[in-house]
Symmetry: C2
Subunit: 195 residues, 2 copies
């Protein structure tokens, strides 16, 4: 899967054949488990699903956060890559479309996003790399929209990203609600104080 290919460059993967196998097993068991069971799934449960001892899980991922980060790495790269497709479009449309995708991504991975927010300010190398990847993908979209005058100049990519993440994290019954909140907030990017 391409999601794991992404983290290969960032994480020193284990060497022996069985180790590599188990690494993958744990990772995909974790992916499944978080999708189904929500954020509270225990590592013991994940190890059990992967058919692996708890000790093995911890050999590959020194703690809970490390496992989440490894999952995160692959998914984020995929999202970042999707910005490339938006090059031709109208600057504003491209920007807001990309953020919509971002929100959709957060929606499916809410459990992940929840835990990750807590570590947002941490500087784990893998995390820094992911942030960089997001910036590389999204910042040009913003710059382009600003240069065209579609977005006010007094906003920075970092804060918009955080704002969107915050909105994406709000639990709603209907995804349309989240999307509406996003639209309102993004319209704030277009607002001009003195008109």
């Amino acid at each position: 899967m391409s999601t794991t290919a992404g983290s290969e460059q960032l994480l020193a993967r284990p060497r022996r054949a069985d180790a590599r196998r188990n690494y993958e097993k744990v990772l995909s068991a974790a992916r499944e488990a978080f999708l189904e069971g929500g954020e509270a799934t225990s590592l013991e449960e994940i190890a059990r699903r992967a058919g692996v001892g708890i000790g093995t899980l911890y050999r590959h991922f020194p703690n809970r956060q490390a496992l989440l980060e490894a999952l995160y790495a692959g998914e984020v790269e995929e999202l970042s890559r999707s910005a490339a497709e938006l090059d031709g479009k109208d600057p504003w449309d491209a920007l807001s479309l990309w953020f919509e995708r971002f929100i959709a991504y957060l929606a499916t991975k809410r459990a992940l996003a929840d835990e990750l927010m807590n570590y947002m300010d941490k500087d784990a190398p893998l995390f820094v790399a992911c942030r960089a990847s997001m910036f590389a993908a999204g910042e040009p979209l913003l710059k382009r929209a600003q240069e065209e005058g579609a977005v006010r100049p007094d906003v920075e990519f970092a804060e918009i990203l955080q704002m969107v993440m915050g909105i994406g994290k709000v639990p709603t019954a209907d995804p349309a609600q989240t999307e509406h909140m996003l639209r309102i907030a993004l319209d704030g990017l277009r607002y001009r104080p003195q008109n």
Copy 2:
């Protein structure tokens, strides 16, 4: 304290003198502890601070969430009450000022807010009452601003509240960052698609 007065009407308080005393002791110990130690403070620690057995704590608050809700009740009422002072002001200023206060409130009680977001959709009676209180305070401000034409008509109070909560929950190094995000999002309320 007025903060506890609020929850008196919503929670059936214990009857015996020592019980009432201990109830207060636990509540204020919890307030302190969450302020200092962050969200992860254990209930055992709170009981210890209150000079009370863990069993007693659980007698008054059947689980962790219940304790948080009880804390929440008082604080929210205080915030809601502060909307009354904004009656005279310009509709737009009143609305955005109130949300700014809301954000400031969330900032000091982040630990609380964090846990509470998880239960946002739950219908615990005390929670419903708190939401009602917030609506009573904030919705008129929005309506007034919409009638004056300062805010677009296609937004509802509930979603704005959620949006603001989402933004407030984002951890930032500098409060000014959060405030800027809020300003951008609120400017979205004033944006008009066809100009």
